[in-house]
Symmetry: C2
Subunit: 293 residues, 2 copies
Amino acid sequence: MSERMPDASNGQTALAIICGGGTLPFALADAAIRRGRRVVLFALRGWADPQRVAAYPHHWTWMGQFGRFMRIASAEGCRDVAFIGSVARPSLRQIRPDWHVLRLMPQIVQLFRGGDDHLQSGIGRLFEQHGFRLLGPKDIAPELVMPLGPIGALAPGERDRADIARGLALLNATSPFDIGQAVVVADNHVLAVEGPEGTDQALARVAELRRNGRIQTATGAGVLVKAAKVGQDHRIDLPVIGPSTIDAAAAAGLAGVAVVAGTTIVAEPERIATAADRARIFVVGVDAGGTGQ
Amino acid sequence: MSERMPDASNGQTALAIICGGGTLPFALADAAIRRGRRVVLFALRGWADPQRVAAYPHHWTWMGQFGRFMRIASAEGCRDVAFIGSVARPSLRQIRPDWHVLRLMPQIVQLFRGGDDHLQSGIGRLFEQHGFRLLGPKDIAPELVMPLGPIGALAPGERDRADIARGLALLNATSPFDIGQAVVVADNHVLAVEGPEGTDQALARVAELRRNGRIQTATGAGVLVKAAKVGQDHRIDLPVIGPSTIDAAAAAGLAGVAVVAGTTIVAEPERIATAADRARIFVVGVDAGGTGQ
């Protein structure tokens, strides 16, 4: 959403990275450090990987300790904040509110009604209202964002491009309903619409439908199509693909994976290219209209 | 689609019922027989229940034996045809084409590209082009079609009605993409969009998300919403609910089930009411705009 591209390499303040699960928080931290910036991790208990967190300046925190975050982040000289890594939509029970959050409770309860976008844009507003600047991965490390065109050796064919266009159109239609960011389309037939279960589970479903003979398209047809939702806060939750996405797409017998360039995070692009070439599937960045480069 | 309501009770010709799986074909046959009509079952091998088929005049057939069907149906004096019961989208391999079908093969291959609606309307045309009249359950036995308002003791509350409206709007948005006929919405949050896996599997997914703590809404919130797709051929494939749907919705911790009145088949309404009351969930027929009675 934001058009700002602050020159993070010369930022005088430290960067607070609120870390969920997976390897992305560390890729982002490394990218910021390479640019000469000091980072402080705020590792979410239950999500962030303790072994990897230990290698960086860090503070462990429960989700919901917003007052504590603000106090420590200010003391650490952080004004910019990034929020990255996997966090399943938390239940109210999983959150340990501190006194500051309790005061904000009516606002927060409202956030938890409705879909993820609603929750995210509310979180963004909370930070900004308290004087922090929320940055997205694209602001900090553009190299983590999917480029236009294929990664790896293979490119989509004509039938794949038709499936990609249909998938993007479907994601566009479901976007106002604030649901998943991924669909699987094979030979013009929709095989899965991702819900809260996530992309890997949706792909596992396609693999099972194929094993059960419930899908008539041959192995080697079909595309996983991922796109950010319309209006999604690109600073908080962009779609992500990693090597495991490629493995799951291959296990589902698909021809490839298409994601929207510029608004999809690519964890470990070299490993993705290797995994795609080994599985003989394509991975392509497309524009929102569905064309490759 | 059809507005015809032929007076089936006085039809002079026999009714050919092409039977898939489940109990619906027999409910339809019984309803036609009660109206004084002779029925001949064309039982699809691999789908129809042999024990129950045996109680009616019948011929076993493979899917795809269209020439054979036409020959026998004509000899039996059938001009009206109904196609009912569960048939997972067949693969081309599961079909045993006879000579007549081989001649129609280019047309049939086209049918298998695209979604279910495309396939269905093509099947309807095939029958009509060969002089048969395709009837829907509503034409033959209106008592098998869901009425407006609740079945059973419970009715949706205000939050449920909002979830129902959101579910219907989502189904309307996905309808052009020819995918599933059901979604699960809880407290304004979309928990599942049905794909080729079917309603019971989509509900099982919601039950699992709840077990894993991935859903924050309390048990007792959420509605399974089913609707026929826009442009769906109501003679071939209407959404169906049966006692197993109620059990699966209850296992998913939902508040109830909402289906569009007039275009949903209700197998065994008394058993559904009993199952719903036992599980303490509502089952309601709504108009396409989402209001109950």
